[in-house]
C-alpha cells in the first residue's frame, strides 16, 4: 500500500510540474498561432502538434537522442552537472513535451474566442502588447486556459511511451502510475496493477470532469 501512495504522489507531482512548465511556452505559442500572421506559421503549427500524431515511443527516442549525455542538449546539461536520462527530470520532460500540444490547441481556441475589439481598445488606451495580453486576452480566455491546463495535466498523468524510453521504470525513482501498471501486470502482480488502475481512473475522471465544467462555463459566458 505504501508503494501505491508513493507512485500516486510521484505521478501527480511530476505531472503538476510538467503542467507548470507548459504554461509559458504553451501560452506564447497559443497566442502566436491565434493572433499573429507570420511566414512559417503553418510549420510552427505542424511542429507543435507533432507529438500528438507521432508514436509516443518515437517522441521518446527523439528526446533520448537529444538529452542523453552524448546528445546535443544532454552534453551541455552534463557539463553543468545535470543528469536527465533515467531520473525524475526525464519523467517531467516526457510529460511536458507530450502534454504541450493539447495545451496549445485548447488555449489557442480560447484566445480565438476573445473579441479583438477589446484588444484594439486596450492598445489605443496605451497598453503595450504584453499588458494587453495579461490584462485583456488572458482574463477573457481564462476558462479555456484552465481547461487547457487540466487537459495537459491529464495527458501528463497518463504518459507512458516517451517516459519508458527516457526514464525507464525504476521503482522509487522514475516509476509513474502508467509505467507501474505495465510493470506490475507484466510481472504477475495483478492485484497491485488493479489498485493502480482504480487510482488512475479516479484521477482521470476528476480531471476530465473539471475540464468539462470549465468548458461549459466558457460557453455560457459568450
Amino acid at each position: 500500500m505504501m508503494d501505491v501512495w508513493r507512485i500516486t504522489l510521484f505521478t501527480v507531482a511530476t505531472a503538476g510540474l510538467a503542467t507548470l512548465l507548459m504554461l509559458v511556452p504553451g501560452l506564447w505559442l497559443a497566442w502566436l498561432l491565434a493572433r499573429r500572421r507570420f511566414p512559417g506559421r503553418v510549420l510552427v503549427e505542424t511542429f507543435v502538434s507533432l507529438p500528438l500524431v507521432l508514436p509516443p515511443v518515437a517522441t521518446g527516442l527523439l528526446l533520448l537522442m537529444l538529452v542523453s549525455p552524448q546528445g546535443p542538449v544532454g552534453r551541455v546539461l552534463a557539463a553543468v552537472g545535470i543528469e536527465v536520462v533515467f531520473t525524475w527530470r526525464a519523467v517531467v520532460l516526457a510529460m511536458t513535451v507530450m502534454g504541450l500540444p493539447l495545451f496549445v490547441r485548447a488555449a489557442r481556441a480560447g484566445f480565438e474566442q476573445v473579441d479583438r475589439r477589446f484588444e484594439a481598445g486596450a492598445a489605443t488606451l496605451g497598453a503595450a502588447p504584453l499588458r494587453v495580453f495579461l490584462t485583456i486576452t488572458l482574463p477573457l480566455a481564462r476558462p479555456a486556459v484552465l481547461a487547457a491546463a487540466v487537459l495537459g495535466f491529464a495527458r501528463a498523468l497518463g504518459e507512458f511511451g516517451a517516459t519508458i524510453m527516457i526514464a525507464g521504470s525504476i521503482p522509487g525513482a522514475t516509476r509513474t502510475l502508467a509505467v507501474a501498471i505495465y510493470s506490475f501486470a507484466e510481472t504477475g502482480r495483478d492485484r497491485e496493477a488493479a489498485v493502480l488502475l482504480g487510482v488512475s481512473a479516479v484521477i482521470a475522471f476528476t480531471a476530465l470532469w473539471i475540464s468539462n465544467v470549465l468548458t461549459a462555463r466558457a460557453g455560457l459566458r459568450t
Binding site: R117, A120, A123, L125, G126, A127, P129
Partner: protein, 216 residues
C-alpha cells in the same frame, strides 16, 4: 490639428485623403461605405496605410517614406468606437482607469463628475444602459489624456431622447478640456450643432470641406 496625406487600398475600396482636420471638432460626414470609420482606424493605428503620412499637432505618427509607423499604444489617441467595447471583465471604475497615464493632471473624479458617471463607478459594465456605456467609454478615453479624441457615431446607438441628453456632455468635453475631436456622423443636425469644421467623404475621397453650414 491632424494632417492627413494617405492612400489605402483594400480590395476594391480605395481611400485617398489629403486634408488638414483643423477644427476643434471636425466632423467626418458621408454615406456608409465612404470610409469614415477607416479614417479613424488609420489615425489610431488599428489599420495600416498603403502609402502616406499622418501627423497630430505636428507629431508624426505615420510616414511611409521614412518607414515610420508608431504602434497604437504610443499614439496617445483616445478612440471610442461605435460599439464602445467596454472591457466586460472589469468594473466601470477599472475600465475608466485602464488607460490612465502616469503624472497626468486629470483625475477620475473630475472626469466622472463632468460626465455624470460617479454613481456608476463600482458597477459592472453589463448592467449599463446605452447612454451610460457611451459616457463611460468617453470617460475612459479622456482619462488616457489623449492628444486627439476620435468618436465613431457616438450617438447612433441611442434613441433621439438620449441623443439630446448626451450631446451636452460632448460639448462640455469640447469646451472644457480642449482636446481636438474628430467626430464621425451621418446626422446633419448633430454635425451643425457640435462641429466647427466638416469634411464630406464619398467613395474614399474628400468631396467638400469647410464650415459645417456651407458644406452640408
Amino acid at each position: 490639428m491632424i494632417d492627413l496625406d494617405l492612400e489605402l487600398h483594400q480590395g476594391a475600396f480605395t481611400l485617398e485623403i489629403r486634408h488638414q482636420l483643423a477644427g476643434r471638432v471636425t466632423a467626418l460626414f458621408g454615406p456608409s461605405g465612404a470610409g469614415k470609420t477607416t479614417v479613424l482606424d488609420v489615425i489610431a493605428g488599428l489599420r495600416g496605410v498603403s502609402r502616406g503620412s499622418i501627423a497630430v499637432n505636428g507629431r508624426v505618427l505615420v510616414d511611409s517614406s521614412r518607414g515610420i509607423s508608431v504602434p497604437p499604444h504610443r499614439r496617445h489617441v483616445g478612440y471610442v468606437p461605435q460599439d464602445v467595447a467596454l472591457f466586460p471583465h472589469l468594473s466601470v471604475r477599472r475600465n475608466i482607469l485602464y488607460g490612465r497615464r502616469h503624472g497626468q493632471v486629470l483625475s477620475i473624479d473630475v472626469v466622472a463628475t463632468m460626465l455624470e458617471v460617479l454613481p456608476l463607478l463600482d458597477r459592472g459594465v453589463s448592467s449599463l444602459s446605452g447612454g451610460e456605456r457611451q459616457r463611460v467609454a468617453l470617460a475612459r478615453a479622456l482619462m488616457s489624456s489623449p492628444d486627439v479624441l476620435l468618436l465613431d457615431e457616438p450617438l447612433a446607438a441611442v434613441d433621439v431622447e438620449l441623443r439630446h441628453r448626451i450631446l451636452p456632455y460632448l460639448e462640455k468635453v469640447r469646451d472644457e478640456l480642449r482636446v481636438p475631436i474628430v467626430y464621425v456622423s451621418h446626422d446633419r443636425d448633430e454635425v451643425r450643432r457640435i462641429a466647427d469644421h466638416a469634411v464630406l467623404l464619398a467613395g474614399g475621397r474628400v468631396v467638400r470641406a469647410g464650415s459645417p453650414m456651407v458644406v452640408l
